[in-house]
């Protein structure tokens, strides 16, 4: 073999190393053999935040010579202990995505539709903003500013300057968030039991029993790195049970996997509660006890409420009498497919571990047509176990004492005041959409119904729409309706990083700074008992002429509206957002961004008040650290009747309650009773009438307790024999990472999946019957549409059920995400295309779980 000369020269140095390894070296560079330096080229770890999922990690990004090259968790963080998940790393390929929109674009093909080339051409920022401002001003001229719609997607807490202020000052009620397309029904469960309209924090480190219900904390949900870090030890210290119709990674690792029949989770929860009460396993310190200490909870027997003295809870006896007394494990086994022995074992295990037990309610169990009561039933178990606010249990977030944006009401003119109070476009508060956020009829958003409302022009027509960092045509179920609705809107501007599916319908496209790397803002997050405020910061200079969606663009738009004679928004931004340190008014969008961020976060760094947690001396230090950790949440903080608080409204003299009506943890929900009652009254009907309109089967008293509701299914078993299950990929950055090769390459870290594929998991028994082999192309058809994907024979799914991860099926977005961008050919199929638009109406949530979609599978 011939060897090159330069190799020969190096030969002598190939063996021994000059510098001993292991142990930090003090010199900046270890000397290499050829006399060169060994090691990383100098750079800085710069703090920012990740928004790949709703964990919202404080992170640091390694920047070499102005380029972002690596990611890790913020070393100060108690929320992720300094680590990011896989998605945290993937984001680098989003920053350097070849398909980033680099300039504002204008549509030149007026015909809109899926697969129709918009024929975008580049334009200047000026032209783009002028066009939007002109279209908006027309609505003010004709006196109907409510025909303006602003749709929000992934946001930072800078959102209020755009999302809240802009439509309200302009005169439209229509700021529509994305919130209810993936998880609001979950909050319904905790609100109508413990008065908390929020996601909970879970004290994994100290728990003795953990039930993961309809979610996998190491793959998705809201504390991923924290869960990954602890999971191995939790398996040693606690019993872990995964309730999930499909084998998730958590289910694969757990002590017990309970593949419940989709949508029947409520029966399982009721039976567990039944056993806990019957066997006297509830946590007496929290729930109380029979006055004479004798357990009267016996199967089938009604109990007299007067015999029980409750402590921190309300209505345990009522719950037993109304719902639980006949809900035996034997009863539940038939419904859920989970053997009764296992149900009893879980109930006993939980009871024994109480109060250091976690029942972790996830969207899989809640986000379906009848999931509101399921969410309550599952979460109520934490009440029985006394794990609420307890060590090793379930807690709310500690407080992040930031401020709101300055008031804008004085900048609203008559037209704005009047029209911004009109009915919102999503039809929230209609009889069939109670959307009872925090107990208020129409209090929450019904995101996915906007498409229908636009098509029906009810409550009104939408003429001008802006969407930012959202992709409802892809991310909402019943995508076909969104395609039609967007075709209909006469003018739509999309603020985005990529030419996504939704962008294909835009008249004007504004290229946005990407969060984590190019934006300035802040987030509030939590995990491990600590609340966190973390800054999103521009760590690199954008390569393109992009702007920040939530602050810079509204500022520029405000300038344009001012040029057209409507200066209110500009005046508000200019006068109210002064630098809290210097009092200087913002001169441009960048200053406006920084000052509003300073105004909102000031309590954390201005040293005026002791807010607990990390001490941060000044704004510069805050930016340098990038984050603030709170003190640990105080266990049992709300015990002693503090699950609700009354206050008297000075104007009306009426008593208002924040949290639960009874100030207790409610098994019998007086809070829900009042909310449903008010909604019924508004529509001149009864609570039963409301429940009927919302597809619930419960009537009368059952409406006020957590209970089992039989699953609701779209498509008959005969025509659509399979039940379809949607799940979250470990690598999906909310449906935005599919254009990165790393997402595609490592898709196989989701059990049963393969790289670069979109696999429908089907049990081999079913596959055999249908003569489907591994890797066959199959058509999946629901009552609304079909997708064509690849079959994967998989024992991790129950016969009769098929499952597929959300994320693939992009027909736009970019060269990797789509099979063929030019021809609008998707890579795989979008789950949201086959899932019909339906709702958990009490919370306004989009139904996407619980197996509500019947499908049929055909080999093609």
């Amino acid at each position: 073999m011939k060897i090159k000369r330069r190799d020969f020269l190096k030969a002598s140095v190939a063996a021994g190393a000059a510098v001993a390894a292991n142990g930090p070296t003090l010199n900046a560079f270890a000397m290499g053999q050829k006399g060169g330096a060994i090691g990383e080229t100098a750079g800085d770890w710069k703090p920012s935040s990740c928004q790949g999922c709703t964990t919202w990690c404080p992170v640091e990004i390694f920047v070499q010579n102005g380029r972002a090259v690596k990611v890790r968790g913020n070393q100060y963080s108690k929320q992720n202990d300094g680590f990011v998940c896989s998605k945290g790393h993937i984001s680098l390929q989003q920053l350097y995505d070849p398909d980033r929109v680099k300039v504002p674009m204008k549509r030149t093909n007026l015909k809109k539709g899926r697969g129709i080339d918009p024929k975008f051409v580049p334009i200047s920022w000026d032209e783009a903003l002028n066009t939007i401002a002109d279209r908006m001003m027309e609505l003010r001229k004709t006196g109907d500013p409510e025909k303006f719609l602003l749709m929000r997607g992934r946001y930072t807490y800078m959102r209020d300057t755009l999302y809240s202020a802009l439509p309200k000052v302009f005169g439209s009620p229509n700021s529509i968030s994305h919130s209810s397309i993936c998880a609001e029904a979950d909050k319904f469960g905790s609100y109508f039991t413990e008065g908390l309209w929020d996601y909970r924090d879970y004290d994994l480190s100290h728990s003795k029993y953990v039930v993961l219900w309809g979610m996998d904390p190491i793959s998705s949900n809201r504390m991923i790195p924290a869960s990954i870090k602890r999971f191995g030890d939790v398996l040693d210290n606690a019993t872990v049970v995964a309730v999930d119709p499909r084998l998730s990674t958590a289910a694969a690792k757990a002590h017990e996997w309970l593949p419940v029949l989709p949508g029947t989770d409520g029966a399982l929860a009721s039976a567990i509660a039944h056993v806990i009460l019957k066997e006297g396993l509830w946590h007496k310190e929290f729930v109380g006890d029979f006055k004479d200490g004798k357990n009267r909870f016996r199967t089938g027997k009604t109990v007299a409420a007067s015999t029980f003295a409750e402590k921190e809870t309300n209505g345990v006896v009522a719950w037993w009498n109304i719902e639980l007394k006949n809900k035996t494990p034997g009863w539940a086994a038939k419904i859920t497919g989970v053997p009764s022995k296992k149900i009893t074992a879980v109930a006993r295990g939980l009871g024994k571990a109480a109060p250091h037990a976690i029942v972790w309610l996830g969207p899989g169990a809640a986000m379906h047509v009848r999931g509101g009561y399921t969410a309550m039933a599952i979460h109520a178990l934490n009440g029985l176990l006394g794990s609420i606010d307890n060590k090793g249990g379930v807690m709310p977030s500690a407080k992040v004492p930031v401020k709101k944006i300055p008031k804008y009401s004085k900048y609203q003119d008559e037209l704005a005041k009047k029209h911004s109070k009109k009915q919102k476009i999503d039809q929230r508060g209609y009889l069939t959409f109670p959307a009872l956020k925090k107990g208020k009829s129409g209090g929450g958003v019904v995101t996915n119904n906007v498409a229908q409302a636009i098509l029906d022009k009810d409550p009104n027509e939408i003429k001008v729409a802006i969407g930012y960092m959202n992709n409802f045509v892809f991310s909402s179920t019943g995508t076909g309706r969104w395609e039609k609705a967007l075709e209909k809107i006469p003018f739509f501007a999309h603020l985005t990083t990529n030419a996504s599916e939704m962008t294909q319908y835009a008249d004007i496209v504004l290229p946005c700074a990407i969060t984590k790397y190019e934006k300035l803002g802040f987030l509030k997050t939590k995990a491990n008992g600590y609340a966190t405020c973390t800054l999103v910061q521009p760590v690199v200079k954008p390569l393109w002429d992009v702007k920040m969606d939530e602050t810079e663009i509204p500022w520029l738009l405000a300038e344009k509206l001012k040029e057209r004679g409507f200066s209110n928004l500009y005046d508000y931004y200019k006068n109210e957002f002064k630098d809290p340190e210097t009092g200087k008014k913002p001169a441009n969008g960048r200053e406006f961004t920084e000052y509003s961020l300073k105004i909102m976060t000031a309590p954390l760094w201005d040293g005026k008040k002791d807010v607990g947690g990390d001490t941060i001396k000044g704004w510069e230090e805050f930016k340098k650290r990038g984050m603030w950790n709170s003190s640990h949440y105080k266990y049992k903080k709300r015990w002693g009747g503090k699950f609700g608080k009354d206050s008297v409204d000075k104007k009306t003299g009426k008593t208002k309650t924040k949290g639960t009506k009874t100030h207790k943890f409610e098994f019998y929900s007086e809070t829900l009773k009042e909310a449903l009652g008010k909604h019924a009254k508004k529509h001149k009907t009864t609570v039963n009438g409301v429940l009927k309109a919302c597809n619930y089967t419960a009537r009368d008293e059952r409406a006020f307790v957590p209970h089992y509701e039989p699953p609701y299914r779209r498509g008959s078993k005969k025509r659509y024999p399979f039940v379809f299950i949607d799940y979250k990929s470990k690598l999906s950055r909310e449906g935005r990472s599919q254009n990165t090769p790393w997402f595609q390459e490592f898709k196989h870290v989701d059990p049963g999946d393969q790289g670069w594929q979109d696999l429908l998991k089907i049990n081999p028994k079913d596959a055999k019957r249908l003569k489907i082999k591994d890797g066959d192309t199959v058509k999946v058809t629901s009552t609304v549409a079909s997708i064509v994907v690849t079959a994967k024979l998989w024992e991790g799914i129950r016969p009769g059920t098929v499952s597929k991860a959300y994320g693939q099926g992009h027909w736009a977005y970019g060269r990797v995400a789509a099979e063929n961008y030019d021809a609008a050919v998707p890579r795989g199929g979008n789950n949201n295309t086959i899932m019909p638009a339906d709702y958990e109406r009490l919370s306004g949530s989009t139904a996407r779980n619980g197996g509500f979609t019947g499908v049929r599978i055909q080999k093609v």
Partner: protein, 265 residues
């Protein structure tokens, strides 16, 4: 003398994917192409049993830094391009490599072409001699003309190829390898020599990966190997070496079980 090794605690591993992607960000490995994965760290998955007793596990994989390394044995160059460092690392010298791919054929954990061989992974990948690496960032196609970028434009504007190129120096290997040579995990020696952990170890949120010196009885790797019954892989199909089997004397050890429940499959 050091003898570096890695222990992977499967109970702690959640198959999250962070280590393999972190390795790509550290070592600037290209995207998969032409049957080469360029994943210096990767995973192999194993499913067995019937519903509902189905069992599933993931095993993170990388170069085993074998003591009897056939990849080194067969390397025809003198001195060898693939060689053992005195610390036990199977090192690759980019300059001396002639791209004969004998190492790739000899390594029991590698495949010449993962697609053709239907292999789950390959420790060694080959940079095709006919095209420059990182074709993704050389492509000039703009999806929307004049409006969206191209791979080439991004790389140019960022000033590096790939744009997220983590630059480092080492006497044997470049931070991006040239065409016509092989590449694989080198235990991040450019970091280890500076007293840092290999990047996959530093990035594992579960702390499932432990790196250190097995000759040091007090090191964490030694402690784990002593405490648990360590296993090593036999090939890239997920088979483990039996008790007496030495194989190529791999130095990546697996301890504990991925799943907590007893086997029913």
């Amino acid at each position: 003398m050091n003898r570096y090794a890695m222990v992977i605690d499967l109970q702690k591993c959640t198959s999250c994917g962070a280590c393999a992607i972190a390795c790509k960000t550290e070592n600037n490995t290209p995207n998969r192409s032409k049957g080469q994965t360029f994943n210096w760290a990767d995973y192999i998955h194993e499913a067995k049993g019937r519903f509902p007793n189905m069992e599933f596990r993931t095993i993170p994989v990388l170069c085993n830094h074998c003591s009897d390394a056939p990849c080194v044995e067969v390397c025809p160059v003198t001195p060898k391009a693939m060689f053992k460092t005195k610390d036990g690392i199977t090192m690759h010298n980019d300059e001396r490599c002639i791209g004969c791919r004998r190492c790739q054929r000899a390594c029991p954990y590698s495949a010449q072409d993962v697609d053709k061989d239907k292999a789950a992974y390959s420790v060694i990948s080959f940079n095709d001699a006919s095209s420059e690496p990182h074709g993704f960032y050389r492509d000039t196609k703009e999806l929307i003309k004049g409006c969206t970028a191209s791979g080439k434009e991004i790389a140019k504007k960022a000033g590096s190829l790939p744009p997220d190129h983590n630059r480092y120096s080492h006497q044997d290997y470049e931070s991006v390898r040239r065409k016509g040579i092989v590449e694989k995990c080198i235990f991040c020696e450019h970091r280890v020599k500076k007293g840092d952990q290999p990047y996959c170890v530093a990035s594992c949120p579960a702390k499932a990966r432990v790196f250190g010196d097995v000759n040091d009885k007090k090191s964490d790797v030694s402690r784990l190997i002593k405490k648990y019954r360590p296993l090593s892989l036999k090939n890239n199909k997920g088979a483990f070496l039996k008790d007496q089997e030495k194989g190529t004397r791999p130095h990546v050890y697996y301890v504990r079980s991925f799943k907590a429940r007893p086997s029913k499959a």
